[in-house]
Structure formats: structure tokens, C-alpha cells
């Protein structure tokens, strides 16, 4: 009996030392004789006293509270709490695991406790090493996200408390009370997890909104850029314009009516047409009040015109809202327009893309894109299959994405057809 007790207390001290080492090791607080002694007097001694005079339960509470405060004062880092929690959780968990392993292999070393303590110590030291390695990754993952460390801390704290309550409180309860207690802890744990998940979802949502904003800003910048280009064109025209006036003045002063006629037809009419077209495009875009789409459209139109494609562009109604997320509609339109541009590559025939956005009589938003195409479309159905492309061309790239995005919206339909040499796609977004 006496040897048993001796071994028990010896290993109890060993366990305490292991914990102490693990705390210092994981929190990266430099270990020193002064600090160990400090811990001994501030934490260990009172715990033993409380243990003896007040009871186990109070001892544990004091132990947890004083340990947390002790290490926090030394490190001044929130992460210290997390580490202590995890060390404790690992300790409790491994204690149980050791028991299970011993029972499973039916190992009996006499006296019985020695086996338990030795196995536990080995496992614990190993686990702490592994944990310490893993923290590097955890820091990296969390980065500057403050709320993440708070969440981990609350989970850690909560789990530690539940673990300890499970182990120690249960011993003092009758069977009926245990059921009651279990229900309460389980319920609290469950609702707590729900709260954590709620916060996580909130954070993710925030993140998404931010991303969308970024995308919109990028598209808006694109739009500004194309406006700049148009503006430059206008300035160039203004410059040309004064030149034209001077030249015309020259003809008039010389009474050269024939020359004037010729000059007018050759130079002015054509320039005027360009200006009209530019003006038209500007005024058309002005009815579209969704910056993200504006950016996308103006960029794609310029891109198409640079490829020598004639772009007709109609927005007769004011479009200030659309029944689809801007990110999604921009993605869909981007793919469709890219395909339309791609379909007109390597052809000397007339190249044309027409695009219209308007409100239908039922107030749904309708977007139509019609374009000439160069390649052979055999089966429209197959364009929507992933990885489909006709020989040499990449038509249909992304159309399966379009299908996926569209299927997210019950109010959206897509019509795809070919008629009279035009490939035509219509998106109809029914009003809510």
C-alpha cells in the first residue's frame, strides 16, 4: 500500500513537471529557476492547499485560473491562452487514450500505475512536440485575422472546461444527476458550436462582399479606362475639326467649289460617322446604371472593335437593377462576348456582334447577344458540354460554366439558337 501511494505521488509530481514543461515549451516563455519557483508558489502550493482543505473541484478552478494568469502576465499574448488550453486538452485526451491502449493490449505491469504513467509520459511528450510543430502552420493560417484566434480560444476554453467538468464533476453526481448534467453540457456545447458557426458564416459573408466589391472596382476601373480612350478619340476629333474648318476656309477663299465638295465627301462625312458612333455608344451606356456591367461591356466592345468587328449596341431602357448577382451576370456576359469575339477570328467575312439589354413588357430584363460566326456549329446542345470544342476553335469554352451559373437562378432562362448565319443567345431574368 505504501509503495503504491509513493509511486502515485511520484508520478503525480512527474505529471506536474511534464505539464509545466509543456506550458513553457508551447507558450515560448523562457524557462528560468525564478519562474519555476514563482509558479510553484503562486500556483502549485495553493492548489495543494485548496485540494486538501476545500476540495478537488475548487483546486482545479484555482489551478486553471492561476495558470492562465501566470503565463499571460509573462507573455502578454492571447495565444498563450490557446496553447495552455490545448496542452490541457491533449493531457486529458492522452490520459484516456493511455487507458484504452492498456486495456486493449491487456498489458499489466505491476504495480499497475507504472505502465500507465510511462506510456502517458511518452505519448504526451510526443504530442506536445507535434503540437508545437503544428502551431507554426496555425499562425500562418490565421495570419492577421484577429477574430480567428478569438474563436479558437473560445473553442479551446470551452472544450477544456467541459473536459474537466466531465472528469471531475461526474464523480460527485448520482446516476440521475449524470443524465441531467450530460444533457445540459451537451446542449450548451451544441448551442455554443452553433454560435461559433454563426460567426464563421458571418465572417465568410463579409469576406465575399469584400471580394465582390473588389471585382466591381476593377470593372469600374476598366470602364473608366475605356471612357478615357473614348475621350482621347473625341479630343483628337476636336483637333481634326479645327483643321477641317481651316482647310474648308482655304477652299472657300479660293472659290474652289469642286475641291470643297470633294474634300467634304472624303474627309468630313467619314469623320462625322465615327463621332456619331462614339457618341451613340456613350449615350447608350449611360442608360446602364450597373457599374460592374458597364466596365465589362465597354471593355469587351473596345476589344471587339479592335478585332475589326462591327459592334451594334442597344440599351433603350434604363437598367438600374438586375435580378442576378453582378459577379454572375458579368461572368456569363464575359464568356458569351469572349465566345462571340473568338467566333469571328480568322475570317474575312463580315464580322458583327449585336448586343441589346432592355426591359420586357413584364419588366423582366432581357439580354440578347447575336453574332456572326466562322466555325461550324454542328450540335448546339454539345456546346454546353464541358471540354467541347470544334476543330481548331475554342468556341464553347466556358459555356458549361454559363449553364452552371444560370442553373443557380430559378428566374433565369437561356435561349441559344442559330438562324440566318447568326449565333444568338438570349438571357431572360424574370422579375423577382
Amino acid at each position: 500500500m505504501d509503495t503504491d501511494k509513493l509511486i502515485h505521488s511520484l508520478f503525480f509530481i512527474l505529471e506536474g513537471c511534464l505539464l509545466l514543461w509543456a506550458f513553457f515549451y508551447t507558450t515560448k516563455v523562457t524557462i528560468s529557476v525564478k519562474r519555476v519557483l514563482g509558479y510553484f508558489f503562486i500556483v502549485v502550493c495553493p492548489v495543494i492547499l485548496i485540494f486538501l482543505f476545500f476540495g478537488q473541484w475548487y483546486g482545479i478552478v484555482y489551478f486553471l485560473a492561476s495558470t492562465f494568469i501566470f503565463y499571460y502576465l509573462l507573455s502578454k499574448k492571447i495565444f498563450t491562452f490557446i496553447h495552455i488550453c490545448f496542452v490541457l486538452i491533449i493531457g486529458v485526451f492522452l490520459d484516456h487514450l493511455t487507458q484504452i491502449i492498456l486495456n486493449f493490449f491487456k498489458i499489466h505491469i505491476n504495480p499497475e500505475l507504472i505502465g500507465h504513467y510511462i506510456l502517458f509520459s511518452i505519448l504526451f511528450v510526443l504530442a506536445i512536440f507535434v503540437y508545437n510543430q503544428a502551431t507554426g502552420k496555425m499562425y500562418k493560417l490565421i495570419g492577421g485575422v484577429k477574430i480567428a484566434s478569438h474563436l479558437i480560444l473560445t473553442i479551446g476554453l470551452f472544450t477544456t472546461i467541459t473536459f474537466y467538468m466531465n472528469i471531475y464533476l461526474v464523480r460527485h453526481l448520482t446516476e440521475d444527476k449524470i443524465v441531467e448534467y450530460n444533457i445540459i453540457t451537451q446542449l450548451i456545447y451544441f448551442s455554443f458550436m452553433l454560435i461559433v458557426i454563426y460567426f464563421i458564416i458571418k465572417i465568410i459573408k463579409k469576406e465575399n462582399a469584400l471580394k465582390q466589391k473588389e471585382l466591381e472596382t476593377a470593372q469600374f476601373n476598366d470602364y473608366m479606362h475605356s471612357l478615357e480612350i473614348i475621350n482621347n478619340d473625341m479630343q483628337k476629333f476636336q483637333h481634326d475639326y479645327s483643321n477641317i474648318l481651316f482647310t474648308m476656309n482655304g477652299y472657300i477663299e479660293n472659290d474652289d467649289l469642286e475641291g470643297l465638295k470633294q474634300y467634304f465627301n472624303q474627309h468630313i462625312i467619314s469623320t462625322e460617322e465615327d463621332t456619331l458612333r462614339l457618341n451613340k455608344r456613350l449615350s447608350n451606356l449611360s442608360k446602364l446604371h450597373i457599374p460592374g456591367m458597364k466596365g465589362l461591356l465597354s471593355t469587351k466592345i473596345l476589344q471587339a472593335e479592335n478585332e475589326g468587328i462591327t459592334v451594334n449596341f442597344e440599351i433603350p431602357d434604363i437598367i438600374d437593377s438586375i435580378e442576378m448577382k453582378v459577379v454572375d451576370i458579368a461572368r456569363v456576359l464575359g464568356i458569351i462576348l469572349d465566345n462571340a469575339i473568338e467566333a469571328n477570328k480568322n475570317t474575312k467575312h463580315q464580322k458583327e456582334i449585336s448586343l441589346a439589354i432592355f426591359k420586357s413588357i413584364e419588366q423582366s430584363t432581357i439580354i440578347v447577344v447575336e453574332n456572326t460566326y466562322n466555325d461550324n456549329i454542328v450540335h448546339i446542345d454539345q456546346l454546353f458540354n464541358e471540354g467541347y470544342s470544334t476543330k481548331g476553335n475554342n468556341r464553347g469554352i466556358g459555356l458549361s460554366n454559363v449553364k452552371d451559373i444560370m442553373s443557380k437562378y430559378p428566374n433565369a432562362t437561356l435561349q441559344t439558337s442559330i438562324n440566318n448565319g447568326y449565333f444568338s443567345q438570349m438571357i431572360e431574368l424574370a422579375k423577382g
Partner: protein, 246 residues
């Protein structure tokens, strides 16, 4: 056929009216010009209690009135009427005309002779359409609404109908297009003798089957797309295909 003309410029209005009237007196005496208006209000008042089969509308009506809006108002009341726009210069609104109000045609007021020619062409096509509407058997077509434009797809040209991931949306595939609309397969399978419900998610047209893969339990259509076949439908499908391609 009953015709309405709306043009705010009196000179042009009379020109259009007389040109059309003279032409129809010679060729189609039954055409009746029920209203020659110079403002959108007159037309709106007219369609309040009455209807016509063909409308010639100026796009830019004075006082900031818009022929496009007027056309939309007419469409609200009457999906079948022919609408022909008359414009001062090419508005560049071809797609809008076609899909927003399902306009039959639009005429640009260019030189007088060309204008008059186009006017008659448009008039002819509206008469042709009017006659077709009278004879058309709607029972042989599947109608898809693309904006206001109604597309008639003959049943025999349809490859298959399928449900999409979204419960209410159906998917129609034919040689020249793939369309989505709201509906139920149950309402479709009965409409045409060669339609066959081969699976809870598919109605195929037996005329366009290219191969039946019994082992994989699907059926390949002529466009290379495969549709699933349920165990229950397999036998029936085999029999029907046997009858059809004998």
C-alpha cells in the same frame, strides 16, 4: 386586315397613307385603314376598345413620345398584331425591335423611291403573316417566347425535352437551338404521337433517336446527346422504336 398608321409629320403621314391605300386598292381591296393618327394618344385611345392587325408607327413622335413605348403598349393588348416601325434614320435598335416588341420590320426614311419600295415590302409581309395566322394550326408547333418574339418550333424537329437542375425549368433541344422555359414534362408527352417519356427527367422524340444502348440504359439522339431510359420504359421504348424504324 385592319391597318393603323401613326406619324406626327403630316406630310409623311399622308404620303404613307396614300401609298399604302393605292397599293391595297389594286391588290388587296379587303384591307381597311381604321386609323391614321398623328400622336400616340390617338392610338392608345383606339386600342382601348378596338384592335387592328397591322400598325405602322413612327419611332420619334413629337412631344417626346416614343414609338417604341407605344408598340409595347400595343403588344400588351395584342400579341399577334404586326408592328412596322418607320424611322428617320437607322436607330441601331434592331435587336430591341425584334425581341422587345416583336416588330415585323422597320423602314428607314431614305430617298423617296427606296422608302416607298420598302413600305410596300413591309406591307406585303404583314399581309402574308396575317394570312398565315388565319390558317396556322397551332397544334403542330411548340411555342417558345423569346422576349416578345414567339418562336414556333414544329414538333417533328424537336429532339428532346429534359428537366434541368432547377425544378421548374425545362430544356428543349432541336437542330438549331437549345431553349429553356417553364413547364412540366407531363403536359408535353401527350402532345405529339412520337414524343416518348423515357425517364422521369426526359421526353424524347422517337423520330430523332440514333441508337439505343440497352446496357447503359440510355438512348442516343442524332445530335450525340444521350438521354437516360428507366427500366420500366425500356421495353416500351424498344417496341416503339421497332415499329417506327421497321
Amino acid at each position: 386586315m385592319r391597318v393603323v398608321i401613326c406619324e406626327d409629320n403630316i406630310g409623311q403621314q399622308q404620303m404613307i397613307f396614300s401609298r399604302l391605300k393605292n397599293y391595297s386598292m389594286m391588290n388587296y381591296p379587303s384591307v381597311d385603314f381604321v386609323l391614321v393618327a398623328s400622336s400616340a394618344e390617338e392610338v392608345l385611345a383606339f386600342i382601348e376598345n378596338d384592335k387592328a392587325d397591322c400598325y405602322f408607327l413612327d419611332i420619334r413622335l413629337g412631344d417626346g413620345q416614343n414609338g417604341l413605348q407605344l408598340a409595347a403598349d400595343i403588344r400588351k393588348k395584342d400579341v399577334l398584331a404586326s408592328i412596322i416601325f418607320v424611322t428617320d434614320y437607322s436607330e441601331g435598335l434592331n435587336l430591341t425591335f425584334k425581341y422587345k416588341v416583336a416588330a415585323l420590320d422597320f423602314i428607314v426614311k431614305e430617298t423617296t423611291s427606296r422608302f416607298s419600295e420598302q413600305l410596300i415590302e413591309a406591307f406585303e409581309s404583314s399581309i402574308k403573316r396575317y394570312e398565315q395566322l388565319g390558317q396556322m394550326e397551332t397544334t403542330n408547333y411548340f411555342q417558345i417566347k423569346m422576349g416578345e418574339l414567339i418562336k414556333n418550333i414544329p414538333y417533328e424537329e424537336i429532339y428532346y425535352f429534359a428537366t434541368s437542375e432547377n425544378i421548374h425549368k425545362l430544356h428543349l433541344s432541336e437542330k438549331n437551338g437549345v431553349y429553356e422555359f417553364y413547364g412540366k414534362l407531363k403536359d408535353i408527352e401527350e402532345r405529339y404521337s412520337h414524343f416518348f417519356r423515357c425517364h422521369k427527367s426526359c421526353v424524347i422524340n422517337l423520330q430523332h433517336v440514333s441508337q439505343l444502348h440497352k446496357k447503359d440504359r440510355n438512348v442516343e439522339m442524332v445530335n450525340g446527346v444521350t438521354c437516360p431510359v428507366s427500366i420500366r420504359a425500356m421495353k416500351n421504348l424498344e417496341r416503339k422504336l421497332g415499329e417506327l424504324f421497321k
